[in-house]
Structure formats: structure tokens, C-alpha cells
Symmetry: C2
Subunit: 347 residues, 2 copies
Amino acid sequence: MRRQETNIYEIAKEAGVSIATVSRVMNHSSTVSDKSTQRVLEAIEKLNYVPNLAARNLSTSSSTSVGVVFPDINNPFFMQLLQGITSAADEMGLSVLLFGTDEDMNREHKILQSMRELRLRGIIITPVSAWDKTTREMLENYEALGIPVVLLDRELDDCNIDRIVTADEEGTFLAVSEMIRLGHRKIGMISGPEFSRPGCERLNGFYRAMREAGLPVRDEYVRKGDFRVNRAYCETLALCGLPDPPTAVFSSNNLTTYGCLRAFNKLGLKLGEDIALFGFDDIEELNWLDYHISVVSRDVTAMGEQAMRHLLQRVDGSNQQNSGMRICLPTELIMRGSEQFPTARAR
Amino acid sequence: MRRQETNIYEIAKEAGVSIATVSRVMNHSSTVSDKSTQRVLEAIEKLNYVPNLAARNLSTSSSTSVGVVFPDINNPFFMQLLQGITSAADEMGLSVLLFGTDEDMNREHKILQSMRELRLRGIIITPVSAWDKTTREMLENYEALGIPVVLLDRELDDCNIDRIVTADEEGTFLAVSEMIRLGHRKIGMISGPEFSRPGCERLNGFYRAMREAGLPVRDEYVRKGDFRVNRAYCETLALCGLPDPPTAVFSSNNLTTYGCLRAFNKLGLKLGEDIALFGFDDIEELNWLDYHISVVSRDVTAMGEQAMRHLLQRVDGSNQQNSGMRICLPTELIMRGSEQFPTARAR
DNA sequence: GTGAAAGCGCTAACAG
DNA sequence: CTGTTAGCGCTTTCAC
């Protein structure tokens, strides 16, 4: 019952040629007579032959799969990135090996370690922490071994590995500035975790907007989040429970935005009437639900595609050298109304 | 700059033993003297050696990666499945290769074809269509080659490949029966695509509930959906625009539920007041947003884990034979209020 | 244009 | 306990 996989010898025998010729036909590597080509092709067809990639890779010491390491497989943001990555990958005939770290540095190290034996073509990673020396060293080690690495969305501190990131500071700055222009003076901020570079950048953008507008930032208005719903929920509750609560909140990522909304609902605060909200990263679903949240948006899928393309370019192109390139993608402000100064200010 | 990867010969030389001994130490395959073991281990440590998996796999003609083929990488449902799959996979030391078909049968065939050269350890797939002969044949071919396949969530018609599915018919039957018990007589249904087995099953459950309650089903109440938001949105609009609209709607999957909600919002229908809703598959986000939708729920992550475990069991265990086993997981009704008979019936 | 043969890095008998 | 050797399936010189 259990058939064996056909190998190159069987094809050679069937076609009456040597395995070298079969190999040549398959790779178009050098000219083969029409007759031989014909017979090989027929044999392949007849025996339903598909070459063994592992053998091929071993022989050429190359690889056709790239490793993708994400901190949270369930976050829609990473799924969009993945969408872009896989679509670019199979355009180029590569397969994607997916790993999830669950925002756990130790898991990340283990995964990075176990990936070594795969001899990957390249690695795309959104590292858990910007200040993780171990991860940085492991990645640099990959680079030294000739396996290119691209950091996606989150950068690593003091590290010259190529990266694709977003104008986090700038986007947040513009968004908060816009809120200020609309009359907001008391603006709350649910930040990202301090070990995340985008988190810090967005916080910086917030501070800069306030500073440039000459507005003071009250410490109790800046709440430390972790890019997750629950923490953001709690912090928003605390924020809105202050004696003198803000009129607007800036939320540092998609999940955080959910946390804010949940808190608003819990407190019975109506968006646009009692409180304003501006988020980082768009959430398509919310538009269907009549939650018109203004956001700092970016083309996430394109970001994933670009990461993949950049990785491959590094492999194939002349620029084998790690250039430490930093590709910063733009953001776009999408105004949907939630940023307006609340109609009912008094509470 | 570009270091070479260390191989087993260098370790052997460094440790002053043969490659066989190195191999033995690494695989614990047979006893090696303490001294040799020690020296090998030191050499490995010193040279930072990691064996080449491709070579190992080629030599043993085995594989450590499984292919996962999903129709929609962006749908949170599949992400939850993937979560379960990857977590079970790395528990067992396997890697996951992810492919997306975008609900396109042709892409599915291409992917399935290109996967052949990977000589995978196994395949987990949610096929696009239940009646796709080509996909069925390709999968049966994999089975014949000794590569186990597990169908996840969607079954294939007339096919004895192992599968993990849900009690779709039953779950829907219970949900709709509950709505009837609460007083609903006119219930609309946004179905799944006709080529999807779960879609059909859920539709069947709906019909059975109506039949057993002795209620007629009006053709115009049953709207054909495609498990996507936009189609569901349009159909729900049409449904609610009927001269005599239903008092409740059953939505066949998570995305469809979003479509319904969007339509309700568009029409200004308030959930619980103007219309009732029951959905298949829970959407965690909605609870944070004060949308308390009653749903037929299931443990999606566990479903993914089980698929992975079942696959491996097939590989390792005695039951090499494809048993054509059908594992049907239970569903659970979660009542949150959206199923109640609307307070304002007249419209 | 084609075949023989030497690897790619590792495992697994088979002798010692 | 350990080393030698023959593969695993394919690519790639190197002669003819």
C-alpha cells in the first residue's frame, strides 16, 4: 500500500539516461538534446516524480525556507504582517516557517536556538524586547553565518541589523497635535511596554506634541500599558476615575484600543460626548460596528511584503553585507470623528 | 567575515574521535564511554556546533516539519487554530510550515503540489471545498505515500481521511431551537457557502430546528452567504428590508456575524430591541464593546492542538493505517441576551 | 551533449 | 565501546 517516493535513479533508468542528465533537465542547467529532454520529461510524468528538496538543498547547501518569529500569533496585526510575508514568499517560491514567542524572551531564545539546525534562508523577527542582549547576539550570529535577518516593527537597541519599522514617533506626534488643535488640553496616554521600541517612540511622540504646544503633561495622565487588552482596560479605568480626568485618550496599539473602549463602556462614557479617543493602528472590525475611531494607520500587509522582499534582496543581491539599513514606513492619519472635543465636557 | 557552518567532521577531529561517535553522542543511540562523551560535548560547545537537520532528515528519510494549509490567514478563527497547532507542534519538536489558499481552489492545488518536494511529516488542512476532487486525490496520494493528512474543521466529501470537526448541525439546531423557545417564529439565516461542509451542516441544523418545531421556513429568510463580511452585510440588509422581516437572525460564522451587525447598524436596528441575533463561533472582541452576542461556541485552540496530536499519533503509533476516523468536537451555547425576543416588535 | 564520480552532512549497519 | 563504510537523493565538476 505504502508506495515509496520515486528518486532520480528511477527516472534515469526509465528514461535510459544518467542521473546527471535528469538533473540537467530539471534545472535547465545546461543544454540537453531534445530527445533526452523528451524522454526524461516523460519519465517524470509517468512516475509522478517530484525531487526531494532536502537532498537538493543539502547538495547545494542552500535553503528555501525562511523563519518568521512573532511575539503574538493571535494579534490581528501580526496576522496581517504574516499575510504580506507569505504572499511575497510564495511569489518567490519560498516557504514560511512560523514560530510564536508569546512575548516571552526565554521562549524566543529557545526558538532562535532550535532554528539553527534548519539552516534557513533568512529570518524575519519581531523581537520581544529591544534591550534583549541574548536575542541580539543570536541574531548577529545568524548574520555572521550568512543568514540574513530582518527586524520587523520592533527594533533592537544598539544593533545594526536591517529593519523595517514605522514612523511611530511622527505618527503619534501628528495625531496628538491634531487633538490639541481641536481644543484638547488634558490628554491621557496608554503607553506600550517600556521594553518595546515602538511603545517608547509613540510615547515620545506624545510628549513632543504636548511640549511643542506648550502644554504640561501630568504624570497621572500617562499610564503604562503592555500592548494587551486587559492592562489597557485597567489603566483606562484608573485614568477616567481621576478627580480631574482627561478629555481625550491616545491608545498605543490595536489591542490597547480595545481595552480603552471596554473601559469607556464599563464607565458608561460615550465616545464623542464624554471622551475622545485616538488610536495607533486601524481596526477594520470597529468600522462595521459603528465605532468610528480615528487612528494612526499604516499598510501592515505591505509592511510584511516589504520585509520579505528586503530579506531576499539581501540574499540574492550584491549587497551581501549587512548594511544596518533602517527602512521607515510612513503613517497616515485617519480621522473618523472620535478625536473631536467631547460635546458634554462637564462630568 | 562569513563563517562556515561547522559540521560533524570538525567536531570529530576536535574531539579526536570518529564521526560515528559524535553522532552517537548526539542521538544517545548507543553507549559511548564517558571520556569520549565528554570530549565530544566539549568540542560541540567550543565550536558552537548545531547539526544540519536537512542532512539528518535525508539520511533517515524522515522529516520534522508539518504543512498547515488554511483558506484565510486573516480570519481570527484560523489564527486560533494555528495557535493550538504551533503550541502542540513545538511541544513535539516539530516546525510548522504555513500556507494560505485565500479560499481559492486553484491556489490550493498549486500549494499541495509544491508541498510534495518538502517530504513533510504530515499535513493539516482546511480544504476550500468539500467537493473538490482534485484536492481529495492529492491528499489521498499523500496518504498513499505514507504522509498522514488531517482535515480540520472542513471535511471532504466521499473521503476517508481522518478529520477533526465540530458538531455543526447539532450546535445550530440547539441554538435555533432556543430562539424558537423564546418566542421567535420568523428566523432568518445567513448561511455559509454551499461548497463548505460546515456551512451545509449549520444550514441543516437550522432547517431541522424549524421543522421539529413545526415552523415553516420561508425561502426569502434563508440567505446564501460566503463566510465573509461583505456578502453577509448585503444579505442581511436584504433580509431586514423584506416587507415582513424576521425577528431574529442566525449567523453562520464569525465574519458573517460582523456583516449582520454592520447591517443592523446601517439600518439603525438595535440589538435586543428591534432584532435578535445568534452566531456561530464566539468573537471575544465583541464582549469588550458591549455587544453581547449569543453564540454557538467551541474551543478553537484545543481543536488545533488536537489536530496536531492526532496527526503525530498517526505517524508514530501502531495505527499507521488511515482509519478514516472522524473526531467530532462538541459545541457549547453561550447565551448573552442577543437571542431574546425583541422588545419592540412592531416596525 | 552526456556519463562517471565526488561530494553535501549525517545515520546506521557492520566489523573489530 | 569505537571506527569504517555504505548509503540518503541530488548537484556539479571533469573527462570523453
